[in-house]
């Protein structure tokens, strides 16, 4: 049975529900349906392009591209294990073989650069036979344990064999290797390994931790860590991603769900100011995992383990606020949203003076813009710089991806709230004014009292009223008169702006939890009651208002941002260097530098 692997449009969430288990992994024998692939950066028309014909399809690719890239541009991803677009090219799996007109031997498409007028064929019997042969070799010492293997559904070997396998049962003596080796974040099964060396190269070229080596020779080759020691890098789970088979599986995700039950939505990791592009994957409304999504301006194909496992914390609902709450006779009681909004509006009108708002860099650009609109109509001051981390927004912890600033939208908050010019946080003054009784209403977004510190503790006691806006119960709730539950980012749509000024979209993956609402809607409703401006109906509309009113966002739209993001006005960059150390001698990138 051949599944349709094309991307489906997920109309419910507006995102692209991508059922692909692994990026660009599909082999198609002659005559079968060709997969539509996302255009590779190399496929964009450029002036010094070379003309290449791949299976009768003529494409233009820049000089220095490989046949593999040309084939991708022509809509065909050759089968492969060892090729990875962000690693060097060893050409050792011998799966992406092709016929090049005028050359006798079959060529590996990943390692051969194109020449103008080159004619390449992947759909000839000779190539298919060669790929069949290679797959047969891969199975020589591979256990047939798919039923108990966690890679099923995103296994290149399984997928390719389904397409062009020989289905010729042969008695064989398998070579035994290490199995079920616990390497900390990863479980290794060396028998399932196809020795593509992706893990070896990732360790050498991206993290520099060089965790894996290939030990021994010939068919006794096996991947190993030194002395079978656990992997200590913060990027270990990428090994599970890049492993095309079930040799390296994630201890975090292993055996929790078959991947073909997962629904995939494009998202952004909220773990730090880097803003790695991810796929958020859920089943039956439960978030199971993040997987890095390619973006050469941000994270290439990688993400860190803390960011990845933050999906577990996100999926945890034990401390979520279920419904809006108001303080009645000293206790918080659940109220309807309409009542909560009405109470909030009344409070602002009654107070009459300025209000103080402590925003949060977890809020999306849309949320922050609506909040700013609310403050401008109510009158008051707003800042979000509770912690010092905003000053280290660009600072890398480890030369790979993790940044010191742990919030996803610090850059967006600086730009949207218009505080980018001030070098000092105004949060202490705002809170001091509340504590001194100069400002009487206080809105706290997400922060707990520990973060707000002593000025915060004073302020919540002195203020006429305190609202808490956020998804989770924190100690600030003890002093709140009104609690407005908001959605976490996987439950709604929106944009974050990363440290470098790249505006990036995320889509809704799971349903809104209980009564919670997107923050832009909460702020929009209050603002509407105050000013008469209608609440934006969608996140898209909220973003359009933002783009119309904030200079650095002008000209941007959801369409322009797309799934690869877009630079803020004034923040445009030519090219971003590849992620990782890349300092090993002889390291070759797939594309010319």
């Amino acid at each position: 049975m051949r599944r349709n692997v094309g991307a489906e449009k997920n109309t419910a969430t507006g995102g692209t529900r991508d059922r692909e288990a692994v990026d660009l992994a599909v082999i198609l024998p002659p005559g079968s349906l060709r997969k539509a692939v996302e255009p590779h950066p190399a496929a964009e028309p450029v002036t010094d392009a070379l003309s290449v014909t791949v299976d009768g399809v003529e494409v233009r690719v820049p000089a220095g591209s490989t046949i593999f890239q040309a084939a991708e541009a022509a809509g065909y991803t050759p089968p492969h294990f060892c090729y990875h677009r962000d690693l060097s090219v060893p050409a050792n799996c011998r799966m992406c073989l092709c016929e090049v007109e005028g050359q006798g031997k079959l060529q590996t498409s990943c390692s051969i650069s194109v020449a103008d007028g080159m004619v390449v064929k992947f759909d000839t019997p000779r190539v298919v036979e060669a790929v069949e042969g290679v797959l047969e070799f891969e199975f020589k010492n591979h256990p047939l344990d798919c039923p108990v293997c966690d890679q099923v559904g995103e296994c290149y070997l399984q997928r390719y064999y389904l397409e062009v396998g020989k289905y010729e049962p042969l008695p064989m003596n398998r070579i035994r290797k290490l199995k079920v080796v616990d390497l900390g974040p990863i479980t290794m099964d060396a028998e399932r390994c196809v020795l593509c060396s992706r893990c070896v190269r990732f360790g050498e070229e991206v993290t520099g931790s060089a965790d894996f080596v290939i030990a021994n020779r010939s068919d006794h080759s096996e991947i190993k860590t030194f002395d079978d020691r656990p992997i200590e890098t913060d990027y270990a789970l990428n090994y599970a991603d890049i492993c095309p088979v079930g040799a390296l599986t994630s201890n975090d995700f292993r055996f929790r769900k078959r991947v073909y039950y997962l629904h995939t939505v494009k998202s952004i990791c909220p773990g730090c100011s880097t803003g790695c592009n991810v796929y958020a994957e859920q089943s039956e409304d439960a978030l199971y995992r993040y997987r890095p999504r390619y973006n050469d301006n941000v994270n290439d194909s990688w993400m860190c383990d803390p960011g990845r496992t933050s999906s577990n914390a996100l999926a945890d609902t034990t401390d979520r606020i279920v419904a809006p709450m108001a303080r009645v006779n000293g206790a918080l009681v659940e109220v309807e949203w309409d009542a909560a909004i009405a109470q909030a509006t009344d409070a602002i009108k009654r107070t009459g003076g300025e209000i103080a708002v402590i925003a949060h860099p977890d809020l999306s650009n849309e949320d922050l813009h609506q909040l700013r609109a609310l403050v401008s109509h109510a009158g008051g001051r707003i800042d979000f710089r509770v912690a010092d981390s905003w000053q280290q927004i660009d600072e890398l912890v480890d030369n790979v991806l993790i940044r010191r600033d742990p919030y996803p939208n610090t850059r967006g908050a600086l730009e949207v709230l218009g505080v980018a010019d001030s070098a000092q946080s105004s949060v202490p003054t705002i809170l001091a004014d509340v504590a001194a009784g100069k400002t009487r209403g206080l809105v706290v977004c997400g922060w707990d009292l520990g973060a707000l510190g002593e000025p915060g503790r004073e302020a919540v006691k002195t203020a006429d009223w305190v609202w808490f806006v956020g998804p989770r119960r924190v100690d600030t709730l003890d002093h709140a008169d009104l609690v407005l539950p908001t959605a976490v980012h996987v439950e709604r749509e929106g944009t974050f702006t990363n440290h470098a000024g790249r505006v990036q979209r995320f889509w809704q993956s799971v349903s809104l939890y209980a009564e919670s609402r997107p923050a832009w809607r909460v702020f929009g409703d209050i603002d509407a009651a105050l000013s008469g401006n209608a609440t934006p109906r969608t996140a898209l509309e909220a973003f359009d208002r933002l783009a119309a009113e904030v200079a650095s966002f002008s000209g941007l739209s959801y369409a322009a941002v797309g799934d690869q993001g877009s630079w803020l006005r004034g923040w445009e960059k030519e090219t971003m260097p590849p992620v990782g150390i890349h300092a090993m001698p002889g390291v070759r990138r797939p594309s010319p530098e």
Binding site: C93, N141, S218, D219, G586
Partner: protein
């Protein structure tokens, strides 16, 4: 058959002394390199091109042309690497050179270095050749002591250092890019080509890498001129070749002959004929990697690049293995398969899994558990391996596998359980023997 002794004369004339600098100089040593120092580097390259000297390591690529591929105006340093990682079963000619005439090799390396403007050269000696490596090291020390190597060689202002490096015992380190990886300190895993070593070789700098025998011929060529060298041999295979002869022959050893001699005549004249009571089963002319030739193929075969290719085999590295009729082809193939299954670097899938698989299938036949299906599978696997890997090790397994089954089906049939339908086997062979080298 009056063969010139370009490479071996000194060793034969001065047994026990030929490896010393004294003997070497007394017999005209280090004259060629002095001449080369006064020559234009391009003229040296041209002289080697004129000589028609082809690589003796196996591929037979013209040496002068290889030198010519190094960029003239490279900002990177350039290197010369001598490949003494002679590990092919049946080949032991470089061993003779390192033991008996190491200074010729040194002089060859020096001339190659001058020809491409290189100031640091390496000799990569097979790990198992510890005695030969010591011989060579001793010669290098002698040369250094006399100022022939080091700063300002031979009184000129040309600096050249020569480093002797031992391998760790991997056959695949004899493949030129595998050797470079090993020399750089990594596992000897061959690189993808292009880029070729002449452009990006050792430490990703332009590198000339030649076989020991190739470099040993260079001093004679420079001294006597490329034309003189080209007079020997045949039209396309110029000069002389050292053949290391083994098997049930009366006088096994290393013999240097002109290219183009007749094979059976060579066996009689140099190898002393076959041992008494042993008939000829076949000859593997170029080391274990090349297809075996049956007696009727050997008869009248010219021992040069074209002549052997016409008969379906190759010069390879000159490991001339005579197989007697008291040996089963199954044992021969099993021995080779065991070697290649052990020596495959494990990088490319077909070679990594295929070599071991062939060993397993042939082993089953040898133990009486094999069937005809084993043979057809071996042929299929060989077909799936040949020409589909980074280096030629897969071919080196696939060619003998197909050739042994093609040439000696009855040997295999004898051991297969359930008998073998020779006609069906013949058909299977004809489906897959297109992988064997053949004259185009």
């Amino acid at each position: 058959m009056s063969a010139p002794k370009i490479l071996m004369q000194r060793g034969l004339d001065h047994p026990g002394k030929s490896h010393t600098l004294e003997t070497y100089e007394a017999t005209g040593g280090y004259r060629a390199v002095r001449k080369a120092l006064d020559m234009d580097p391009l003229a040296i390259q041209q002289e080697v091109k004129t000589s028609g000297l082809r690589g003796r390591g196996g591929a037979g690529f013209p040496a002068g042309m290889k030198w010519g591929f190094t960029p003239r105006d490279s900002e990177k340093p350039k290197y010369v690497v001598c490949n003494s990682d002679e590990s092919e079963p049946g080949t032991f000619k470089d061993r003779w050179l390192l033991e008996n005439d190491p200074h010729t090799v040194i002089e060859g390396i020096m001339i190659a270095a001058i020809a491409i403007d290189c100031h640091l050269a390496f000799n990569y000696v097979r790990g198992e050749y510890s005695y030969q490596g010591q011989c060579f090291q001793k010669a290098v020390d002698e040369a250094y002591a006399k100022g022939y190597l080091g700063k300002g060689i031979l009184g000129s202002d040309y600096d050249l250092d020569l480093v002797v490096h031992y391998g760790a015992g991997a056959y695949i380190a004899g493949e030129e890019t595998g050797l470079l990886e090993s020399l750089e300190g990594r596992k000897a895993m061959p690189r993808n080509k292009p880029p070729f070593p002449a452009v990006e070789g050792l430490f990703w700098c332009p590198t000339v890498i030649n076989n020991t025998e190739t470099l040993a011929a260079v001093p004679w060529i420079i001294e006597n001129g490329g034309d003189a060298y080209a007079q020997y041999g045949t039209e396309k295979s110029k000069g002389t070749k050292m053949w290391s002869c083994s098997g049930p022959i009366n006088t096994p050893g290393v013999y240097e002959v002109e290219f183009g001699v007749e094979m059976m005549g060579f066996v009689e004249e140099y190898c002393g004929g076959l041992m008494e009571g042993v008939g000829l089963k076949g000859i593997v002319p170029g080391g274990s990697s090349v297809p075996v030739m049956k007696p009727e193929q050997c008869q009248g075969a010219r021992m040069d690049y074209e002549g052997l290719l016409e008969r379906g085999s190759l010069v390879g590295s000159g490991g001339f293995i005579v197989i007697g009729d008291n040996v089963s082809a199954v044992d021969c193939l099993l021995n080779l398969a065991h070697f290649y299954a052990h020596e495959s670097c494990g990088q490319c899938t077909p070679c990594r899994e295929g070599c071991g698989w062939i060993e397993q299938l042939v082993g089953e036949i040898r133990n009486g558990n094999g069937r005809q299906a084993n043979l057809t599978k071996v042929l299929e696997l060989a077909d799936a391996m040949a020409g589909k890997t980074i280096c030629a090790l897969a071919d080196a397994m696939a060619w003998p596998a197909v050739a042994f089954i093609k040439n000696y089906p009855e040997d295999f049939a004898k051991l297969c359980a359930g008998g073998v339908d020779l006609e069906a086997l013949g058909e299977a062979v004809s489906r897959h023997d297109h992988i064997l080298p053949r004259a185009s």
